[in-house]
Symmetry: C3
Subunit: 342 residues, 3 copies
């Protein structure tokens, strides 16, 4: 794991939440490039490379004039397509443009495709319709992580870490003790962990009023290169589906650079959906859990980055999903490198 | 522009203002080397490599004893020529010396030649006699810049950025709208921009009491590798020379390292030369304008340094002076590399 | 001196003072590797590589359960030998282990051998029995240094720097003026400096009540790669041994990384050994002196690291011990590189 795997460009990543993007310009690094996010006058989200084609000053520091950004260094005017439409210094238009990124806005998520636009097929997007389903509510946000994306992917694909890293909230001995079933197909890796008759972890006791014993399901899907969804069910032991409390989490694991990652999250539930105090509690709890992960992954990044090349690693059965995720990312990166080398 | 151009060593750079150098030792990095500046007992400025020839401790942390610096680590004694004249540990003198840099002090400027001393010809110095002309007064200083020197050179050779970056002080639409005439000869690139019948920018309204329309001239000379002078004239439209307000600026763009630059400035005027309040106002205004430039160039440095090698760049007619300046620096650097490779 | 000498692995370094290690886990980097120090239940000190064999999370952030560390990320259980003894996720034991470092605890010092364990012979340890001799008392500690180890080695092997860097405490003109006798044998370099009829430096005036003239002896032994002992004697001039004040210092110069060093020290005396106020005074004085050294060496590191490769260096007779120490380290590093290349 020591050396860095090249970042996968051809894939839909979460670029932003819809409510982050308004009439002001926002810079965010995505897969190694600076991106300028904003909305066109018709409300459409737009994203272009955040370097003026002239002298590379960030367009996001410019002035938005209708759909046109005027660069604040020498006044290049760039429209929504990324093309230069004029400049104050001369009457003829400079032949210049910047990359416009394929975007899809759906269910409150702004998806971005950092790679070859020809391949940006919206059909590849995971189903996120629960985010706008009236039977559900959710909280969401984004947390910065100073670690390579792979460490976050493997963190989420092996939830046994909840037992050790999150014992005061969502973890207890049952998670590590219960094996997973793993399946994979194409660019997806899935696992299921069904815990039956276990003790309720503190977080679920508090937010659902559950008392032990309970059943707890964790069904996760990793959509390579950068999305993870977790379907959870908690209920008094023996309760039959569809009874019980259901929760879902989406994580958008979007590389900023080779060693920095945006950790997007949305956490939803299908119960007490009008209880705003509960939403606020769940948001704070989620951020507290993510801080434990971020602290751990940033330390892990230091340990991994400083290790001698070729150092050995030990894996066990609970790593199967994580290792499949890693191989998938390596395969996708290798495929892209081969295309680039042609 | 992505990759760094090697720094030019053979050229006169501003090393300091005369009033910065006194009886104490001062370290300043110049073109990648630490330099120890001080005055000899006869008042002459002196500059030697700021590494003791013994164990490389900065001589500038030593003790000045007459014209001799005693290193504060093991006591090597270095005279004004850079030669070791003795050491407390033994009676025989170590055969050791450090580089002494050619210097010229003139008009309150301490010029330094970081390259081959054989080539350090004072005849190459630009004329700065206005700095001591009794008909003029000026303010001066130096500002640190965390960006490669080239970005500052191109900033000054394309003043159309005033329109966008400095609209509250020295810029308005007329600057970008008025083309320049560019000439070059040897290691010099010159441009003239004569704006006629334009609105007065805020700074000139305040400091000269000018009301629109005015004429505004900007005549710039870049003396490669590191000096820029700007002659400015502002006057009510139609006023004939030599009437009107005249201002001059010298910028010393002295690389500290490959990605850090000293931004020396002197701003002078030929009117109200005894008005100290006006001088103070002009100094504060100049520092405010330079902060806008420094902030922009430091961001530009990040964007340029992080760009993929071989990325394209768009240029327009207002870039002609800047591009000639860039080519000149590249040519000088290549010439020096060829000599070094012999 | 510009380029870094590879760190020597085969040698006893001070890893910690005995009183630093208790029932909690402590991370310390030693010769480029993270080490987890702790005590086993029988009181024995133990040190293993501080990366879990599973996903490289620091074991020092884990939970100590008897002699077993449970990793706080996924629960690998590592015993005192560094071997994995189980994991909560499965009943069969992962075949995994981490390096256990040879240690010797003696006289309050925890010695560590970062290299080949086969070569870790306790007979190679220097004699430190005075640390537990009832006729002596000492103060000790460790100070971080952001500089390569070699700079500290040369600092201690050339004490003439006391004259210039420590004039307000332990240095005066006599140190630089008095030559040393140097001998060496195997991996040891020794020097003696006997100053006779000199003025008493401020520190010794205060802590011993000595008045000038005095005799002062400095007899140093460098045990490559990382230990230095200094035997000092101070007495009114003409006093015969064994009369007089005797002091000893051990320095453990343990590389943390290539450019960071742990500066362990113990300072002892054979007089007024029950005077705790004097001990406290000597500790504060020692820390003040070391701060002067650390400040100087950290600046020297910058100057050395930024120098052009192949820059020349001047040496004098007082450098003989330091240069022998440097050659010794270079020879040991070259020997290890040759073995590694086989």
């Amino acid at each position: 794991m020591g050396s860095l795997t090249p970042l996968v460009k051809n894939g839909w990543y979460i670029g932003a939440w819809s409510d982050e993007i308004g009439c002001t310009l926002m810079q965010r690094w995505i897969v190694g490039r600076p991106v300028c996010f904003y909305r066109l006058q018709d409300g459409t989200v737009n994203a272009i490379e955040d370097r003026c084609p002239h002298r590379k000053y960030p367009l996001s520091l410019g002035r938005l004039d209708g759909d046109v950004i005027e660069c604040n260094y020498h006044g290049y005017r760039i429209d929504g397509s990324g093309g230069c439409v004029g400049v104050a210094e001369q009457s003829d238009r400079p032949k210049a443009s910047v990359h416009r990124f394929p975007l899809v806005e759906r269910d409150g998520v702004v998806w971005i495709w950092p790679g070859d636009p020809e391949l940006a097929d919206p059909a590849l997007l995971p189903d996120t319709s629960w985010l706008t389903d009236p039977g559900w509510t959710h909280v969401h946000g984004v947390v910065p992580l100073k670690a390579r994306q792979l460490l976050l992917v493997e963190n989420l694909l092996d939830l046994t870490h909840e037992t050790f890293l999150h014992p005061s909230s969502i973890g207890n001995a049952a998670v590590a003790a219960t094996p997973i079933d793993v399946t994979s197909e194409g660019d997806r890796v899935s696992f299921t962990r069904h815990m039956v008759g276990i003790e309720a972890p503190p977080f679920y006791e508090k937010s659902m009023g559950l008392t032990s014993p309970i059943d707890r399901w964790q069904d996760g899907d990793f959509y390579a290169p950068g999305v993870f969804q977790l379907n959870m069910r908690l209920a008094p032991t023996g309760t039959e589906e569809p009874e019980g409390f259901h929760m879902k989490v989406i994580y958008g694991m979007t590389p900023a650079t080779e060693t920095e990652t945006h950790d997007f999250f949305a956490l939803g539930r299908d119960y007490l959906i009008d209880d705003e105090k509960l939403s606020e509690f769940q948001l704070q709890q989620q951020l507290a859990v993510m801080k434990e992960d971020v602290d751990a992954l940033e330390i892990q990044e230091v340990m991994v980055a400083s290790e001698a090349p070729g150092a050995r690693e030990s894996s066990i059965r609970s790593d199967v999903a994580g290792l499949r995720g890693r191989r998938l990312l390596e395969k996708m990166a290798a495929r892209e490198a081969a295309v680039a080398a042609r």
